[in-house]
């Protein structure tokens, strides 16, 4: 009963937020609305019993997405871009005021929506235990993972062991996406960095990527924010480690921990000067961390081959089946965590590179 009320209320909020996003034209307000949207859908996932998913959505929506979008939107405030004129994201749009979308796209959308909704007539009702989805793989996972894998969190069992191939693929996708962003942004021609800021001639730097950070400019210079947030950084990182190593027993695991760890270091990067961040974790470490996690995951799979099992079959890694599964899941979750954390950090560095290189007066406290 109360579940139903909360479910319907959250669905309503979700729709309202999506409609507001459709109407709004300012990129900054859309970004903030998408953060709110993420919070609401995260609460909805909790109502739908998907605590691990909600955890991931909370970490992604609150931690990473908005930081990346804001980084791209703020690129427009750069003086080098403004010289070329109409560059502000908010101002270059002819329809700056809030406006509903055009008739044609609404008609097409409505047609698709009616088709899809008529298709839901065959779907099982909400929460129906007789639905087909609950009778194929789930009974095996819920009934036997306790004996076969030996860890309480069934989602972690499915993610890391039963469907370990899938997860390896996902980690490789994350690694590839991180590399793609590095290739797109690290080699971007940028006269401002080459000539004005660093004072190094263009020819000298050609042939190797520019350093990602080089100036001692914190992005957040406000002393109150700095003092308060700096105390949160170790707590966030400690929490990330808890999520990483407790993921077998409760909601959590490598994906969530990686994002939270990345967010902790990103917060530090926003607060401290870039030299300090580089002392904590260098560019090289970030980039090799991305590859190391994927390699660790693959190595566990190959190790299982050498112990006489199948690829990613952890049961052979130790004397008993559940001990082997524990060891294997621990190692691959660690690999996932390292890759995700390094990728998130490298995304942040790539998008904020120009801000690190700008002078202090760009960011008044």
């Amino acid at each position: 009963m109360i579940n139903t009320v909360v479910d319907i209320g959250l669905l309503g909020l979700l729709l309202a937020t999506a409609l507001l996003m459709m109407r709004s034209q300012s990129p900054l307000s859309i970004t903030i609305l998408s953060s709110i949207y993420s919070l609401i859908i995260c609460a909805l996932f909790v109502v739908l019993d998907a605590v691990d998913v909600a955890f991931t959505e909370a970490a992604v929506g609150a931690g990473i997405s908005s930081v990346l979008f804001v980084a791209v939107i703020r690129h427009d405030d750069e003086p080098s871009n403004n010289k070329r004129g109409n560059n502000k994201l908010g101002n270059d749009a002819p329809e700056l005021k809030s406006a509903w979308p055009s008739g044609l796209s609404i008609c097409l959308g409505l047609a698709l929506g009616i088709l899809l909704i008529s298709g839901t007539a065959d779907m099982p009702l909400y929460g129906d235990p007789a639905a087909a989805i609950h009778h194929y793989l789930a009974p095996r996972f819920l009934g036997q993972s306790g004996a076969e894998i030996g860890i309480p969190n069934v989602v972690t069992s499915v993610l890391a062991s039963y469907r370990g191939y899938d997860t390896l693929g996902e980690v490789v996708v994350i690694f590839t996406a991180g590399m793609a962003v590095l290739l797109l942004l690290a080699f971007m021609p940028d006269q401002k960095i080459k000539s004005e800021v660093e004072g190094v001639s263009t020819t000298k730097r050609r042939g190797k990527p520019p350093r990602l950070w080089s100036r001692r400019t914190p992005l957040i210079a406000n002393p109150v924010l700095k003092t308060v947030l700096l105390r949160f950084v170790p707590i966030v990182i400690l929490f990330a480690l808890y999520v990483q190593f407790h993921g077998d027993y409760g909601p959590g695991g490598g994906f969530q921990a990686g994002i939270i760890f990345g967010v902790g270091l990103i917060t530090f990067g926003l607060l401290a000067d870039s030299e300090k961040l580089q002392n904590v974790i260098s560019e090289r470490m970030v980039i090799s961390g991305m590859a190391f996690g994927v390699l660790l995951y693959g190595a566990v799979g190959v190790a299982a081959l050498f112990f006489g099992g199948n690829f990613l079959d952890y049961s052979v890694l130790s004397e008993s089946q559940t001990a082997g599964q524990h060891l294997g899941i621990f190692l691959i979750e660690l690999g996932v965590g390292i890759t995700v954390a390094s990728t998130m950090l490298s995304l942040f560095i790539s998008f904020h590179r120009r801000h690190f290189n700008q002078s202090q007066d760009e960011f008044p406290g």
């Binding site: 669905l11 739908l48 698709l112 306790g146 469907r163 996406a177 998008f351």
Partner: protein, 138 residues
């Protein structure tokens, strides 16, 4: 009174699927309609999250619990099994969310490069303008 209760008792029914479809359509309309590339990317994110909602709704079991096994003896476990929600969609969607943010970042990087090359991220202006800055790869 009883008919109201019956109607309300069956209420979530197909509603979650319908909301997921409406969100999907909203995302699609944003992608089709907006000329601002950043807004288009957020439209894609809404589209994606609608699919997530659909999957997670299908995994829900009434009176269910999150699929984390309690530490009770295994002999009495099977009775409780139907009370856990389906863990499979959770595992699929969990990874999809993280992959989603990584691919969104690739889209944002492309937007940064487009603005670098054309000086704007507004589609109509990109169509009008020649490339302002020829790309030099080091």
């Amino acid at each position: 009174m009883s008919s109201v209760e019956a109607w309300f008792g069956a209420l979530p029914g197909l509603l979650n699927y319908w909301v997921a479809i409406i969100l999907l359509v909203c995302g699609l309309i944003i992608v089709m309609d907006s000329r601002n590339l950043i807004k288009k990317l957020i439209g894609l994110n809404i589209f994606q999250s609608a699919v997530f909602l659909l999957f997670i709704t299908m995994g829900k079991v009434s009176q269910g619990h999150p699929p984390i096994l309690p530490s009770i003896p295994r002999s009495i476990m099977p009775a409780a099994i139907s009370n856990f929600s389906n863990p499979l969609p959770h595992a699929l969607i969990l990874t999809a969310i993280v992959v989603g943010v990584a691919t969104t970042a690739v889209g944002l990087a492309l937007i940064v490069r487009i603005r670098r090359a054309y000086g704007t991220i507004h589609e109509d202006q990109i169509a009008d303008k020649p490339e302002v800055e020829p790309e030099i790869m080091p």
